[in-house]
Each structure stands twice: as C-alpha cells, then as structure tokens.
C-alpha cells in the first residue's frame, strides 16, 4: 500500500509550500489521477511518491515503511524493484535498441540480460511491439515509444506505476491504447498513479486527487 501523511513540499526553503499537509492512501488495483492547474505540484507529487524528492514535512509510506526516510541507495533499490516510471516523453535512449530500453530497470534490480530478455520480449509482444525489439526509438512512433516505456515500467513487475502525463504528446488512438494498458496494469493489483490534465484520463480513473 502506497500512502502519504501530512505531506508538504517546497523546492526551496521559504518557497511556496505545496500539498497543504496531504494525507492519503493510493489504492492498489485502481488508477488514481492527480489533476489540477499547472504549478499545483502534480509531477512533484509523482516524484515524491517515486522517492526522487524528499518531503519538506510528512512521510511517504510503502507497505507501512517510511520510504521517504530511507537512504538514497535504498530508495534507488525500491525504484528498481517496486516502482515503475512512465514519463511524458517516454525518455528512451535514442542510441539504444527498444529491447535494451525495456530491460534497463531489471539490470539495476540485479538481473542479468539473459534472464530478463524473455520477459522483455513477452511484454513487447503483449503490446504489439515484438517486431520492433531491435529498432531504435527514432524508428518508432510516439504512441509506440510510450508503449515501450510502459513495457519498461512493467519489466520488474512492480507494485506501483507512476505515469507523468503519459498521454500528453499522443493522438487520441495512441492515448487510448496507453491508457488502456495502464488500466490493465492496475487490474493486476498494481497501484497506478497518473499525473494528468486530460479530462478523459480523469474520467477513466477510479480515484482522483485534485491538487
């Protein structure tokens, strides 16, 4: 279970304080949408939940453990094994193959490429991208790139998926495909949290956090 208690954050001491002591649980098996006007901290909350930022006050809890107080090394370990990230621009290395991109988090989690390759190919197959495994990101469409990012987020079978505007740069069809994949990931018991402006995404979410 992912939760925050009394959470506040500011980018600099004395700066604008965000979240107003937010306390909340994020349900497993459901999609939660983080929405609100620009500058209200949607992406920032996502990065706090992903342990890339430290709260000014309050805590981030993962399965009852105060994850926001863990060491940097332990936070990295949690990101590699328990948390999957999907970024707005997919964030794929243009010089590496799609297969290399998908296996990357598993390598940080301690897997070997030989051990993780079958699962990576299986995920690419599920998302209709198996034939693109040896291609470079520049050779696939934006929608396909975002599906590759989803495969990468799922490679370590994490319990939490954090998506930052995953449909922001996509056309309607591609956005629907990505959103469906995220919903499908949640139905397998994962906590899926999406930071979004998109009203359609908010409609599809089981839970909404208005910032």
């Amino acid at each position: 279970m992912l939760a925050v208690t009394e959470l506040t954050f500011s980018y600099r001491p004395g700066g604008e304080e965000l979240f107003g002591a937010l306390t909340r649980e994020f349900l497993p098996g459901a999609v939660t949408a983080l929405t609100g006007a620009s500058g209200r901290g949607k992406s920032t909350l996502l990065y706090l939940l992903g342990l890339l930022l430290r709260p000014r006050t309050g805590q981030v809890l993962i399965d009852g453990v105060v994850a926001s107080s863990l060491s940097d090394e332990e936070c990295s370990g949690l990101r590699a094994t328990r948390i999957g990230f999907v970024f707005q621009d997919a964030a794929l290395d243009p010089s590496r193959t799609i297969l290399d991109a998908v296996v990357e988090p598993a390598l940080y989690a301690g897997a070997t490429i030989t051990a993780v390759r079958p699962r990576a190919l299986q995920l690419l197959d599920e998302f209709g991208l198996a034939h693109r495994a040896t291609h470079r990101p520049g050779q696939i469409s934006g929608g396909q790139a975002q599906r590759v990012a989803l495969c990468r987020a799922l490679i370590t079978n994490p319990s939490i998926i954090l998506a930052d505007e995953p449909t922001g740069n996509l056309d309607m069809d591609s956005a629907e495909m990505v959103l469906s994949a995220l919903v499908a990931a949640s139905t397998q018991g994962r906590t899926v949290i999406i930071a979004t402006h998109n009203a359609y995404v908010v409609e599809r979410a089981a839970d909404v956090v208005q910032l």
Binding site: L52, F87, R96, E104, P105, L107, Y108
Partner: protein
C-alpha cells in the same frame, strides 16, 4: 547491478556515442605517445650516458709509487685484486725501451712494461701462450716495429733478455700497452703504478679508501692518486638531473592530458544529463552512475593507450631508440590511472545531478 552487466552497459554506451570516447582515446594516446617519445627517449639517453660512464676507462683508479719505495708489492696488488668492489687490479713497472735481441741490427726500440699480478688483467692473448716470469708478450704493432715476422725470439733491455712467447692485444683501459711489449715481472718485484678497475663509478670512493688502506703508505705524499671519484659524483648529478627532468616532464604531460580528459568527460556528462536522470529514476544508484562514467572513460583510455604506445614504439624503432619494457608498461598504467583520476570528478558530478531537474528540463 551485477558487475558484468555494468561492464556491458559501459561498453555498449561507450560506442553508442563515439565522439567523447574518441576524444578521450586520442587524448590518452597523445599522453602515452608524448611520454614515451620524450620521457622515454630521455630515459634511454640517460641509460646510454650512464653506460658510457661505466666503461672501464672511466672506472680506473691509478696509484703511483712516487719514490719507487716498494709500496706496491705483489702482495698489495693481489690483495687489492681480491676486493669485492674491484673488477681487476694489476701493477705495472716503469716503461723501459727494449729492442730485438734476435736480429743482429736490433730493429727499432719499443716500450716495455713489467706486469705485477695477473697479466690477463691487461692483455688478451691472440697467439702463443701466456708468459711465465721473465717472459714477454708482444703486440702486433710492436712485432712489426721490432722487425720480427713471427712472435718468436727475444727482446733485450741492456743485459736482460725476455723471450717472446705470444702476441697480445691490450684490454681497456690499457690501450697504451698496444704499442709495445709486456713481460711478467720477476717474483717479488714491486710495481711503479697500481691500476684498479672498479665495477661501478659509484664504488670509486669506497675502492679508493680500501686501496689506500691496503697500500698503507707511511706518508700520503709518497703516492699519487688518480681516481674516478669526481666521475662518480658527476654521474650522480647527471642521473639526478635526468631523473628530475623526466619526472617534471612526465607530470606535465600526464597533468595536462588528465585535465583535458576531465573536461571532455565532464562535457559528456553534461550532454548526457537526460540519460543519467533517466537512469536514476529507473533505479540506478549513485555508485552505478559513478562506475558507469569511469568505466566509459577507462574503456576509451584503453583503446588510446594501445594505439599511442604502438605508434610510439614504431617511431622509437625507426629512431633506433630502445625504451625499457618496464617504462612502457609504467607509462600505460600511469596514463590509465590519469584518465581514471580525471574521470572521477565528472563521475561524482553525474551521480549528484538532480534527476527531477534533469527530467523536467526539456
């Protein structure tokens, strides 16, 4: 992350962006080549100079018995020859003129020296046999001057005759003897001068002290001493100068190379900020990022040192300069260490980049 996977990741990412890798490789090749072609050549020149200074001619200590007081007896000569620091020691009498005793006309006069001690210390036999006391060896030049066709007969000095039993060539540093005759002095005859060849110039001071102790002249004025102690001091100074110059040059080359390598690696890190931020977000620890940046530099540097040392060795071969293998290995290792040291700062910078800032900056 498993070490093998880290190595694979570093290897692959080195070659996916070749420009910084090539620049690091070129810099390391230049460091290696410059070191070998300058410092290596200096080291080689130093070795040549030292070798020349170590030649026998430069290692000779000559003690003269000014008053022919019998200070340089055969026992003294033998005791000096037995010293560990001494390569050879031999006594010579004053030069005398001899002429052929075989030819009626007597032929030309040639110089002759009586040898006290081991005659092989001054002469290498090229014909006949080594002489017994009272017998002589003659050089080829002296043989011709005496008017002998063969090394037979005898030479005479006043009423003393010396049968010729062989031909010799003079050993270094006794080239003066090449013009004449050497004969084994009668048993018990003291030498006029004692010639001592040390193993190294560095041993000159000690040898002189030991030899003077063995000679034990009642008054020091009774002896003349020509020694290689000044040469030993000069040798030390030259070695020091060469060493200092070499070290300074090495530091300059490696320092400048490391600085430029550091700049290239830092530029690479800054250009790859998005890549590094993504890796952190996906679970890479700071240590992984540091290792990744340093391994990438090391891989590029490895290619550089192989290229640089191979090219330098070819040039040195063309120049006919021999650099010791250990120096080549040391240069390669130092260049790699310099590259690693240069990459450390940028690697730490990479590890401390804020992934959120990087990910949110277009």
């Amino acid at each position: 992350m498993k070490p093998l996977m880290l190595l694979r990741e570093a290897w692959v990412s080195t070659f996916t962006r070749v420009v910084p890798a090539v620049m690091v490789a070129v810099l390391c090749a230049s460091m290696c080549a410059t070191t070998l072609l300058t410092v290596g050549r200096t080291a080689s020149a130093e070795a040549d100079v030292m070798a020349r200074m170590e030649q026998a001619g430069s290692l000779e200590l000559v003690i003269g018995d000014n008053r022919n007081a019998g200070l340089l007896s055969p026992t003294v000569v033998n005791n000096v020859a037995a010293l560990d620091v001494v390569e050879r020691a031999v006594g010579l009498g004053s030069a005398v003129d001899v002429r052929s005793g075989t030819l009626a006309a007597g032929g030309n006069r040639v110089p002759a020296w009586g040898v006290v001690g081991d005659i092989t210390a001054v002469a290498t036999l090229i014909g006949g046999r080594f002489p017994l006391p009272g017998e002589a060896l003659v050089s080829q030049a002296a043989l011709e001057k005496l008017g002998h066709d063969y090394p037979t007969g005898y030479v005479t000095q006043g009423s003393v005759d010396y049968p010729i039993v062989g031909v010799f060539v003079a050993r270094e540093p006794f080239s003066d003897l090449a013009a004449g005759v050497v004969f084994v002095a009668e048993v018990g005859t003291p030498a006029h001068t004692l010639h001592v060849i040390t193993h190294t110039a560095a041993a000159a001071v000690l040898t002189q002290r030991l030899v003077l102790a063995i000679v034990s002249a009642p008054k020091l004025e009774d002896l003349t001493v020509q020694s290689a102690t000044a040469l030993a001091a000069l040798q030390g100074e030259i070695a020091g100068d060469f060493g200092l110059f070499g070290r300074q040059l090495l530091l300059l080359v490696l320092g400048a190379g490391a600085l430029l390598t550091g700049v290239v690696v830092l530029a690479d890190v800054l250009l790859r900020r998005a890549d590094l931020g993504r890796r952190r977000a996906l679970g890479a620890t700071r240590r992984i990022l540091i290792a990744l940046v340093m391994l990438r530099a090391l891989i590029a540097a490895l290619f550089g040192v192989v290229l640089g040392s191979a090219a330098s060795l070819i040039v040195l071969t063309v120049w006919d300069v021999s650099v010791p293998t250990v120096f080549v290995i040391a240069t390669v290792v130092l260049t790699l260490l310099a590259a690693l040291a240069a990459a450390l700062g940028p690697a730490v910078k990479a590890a401390t980049l804020d992934p959120v800032t990087v990910l949110r900056t277009p």
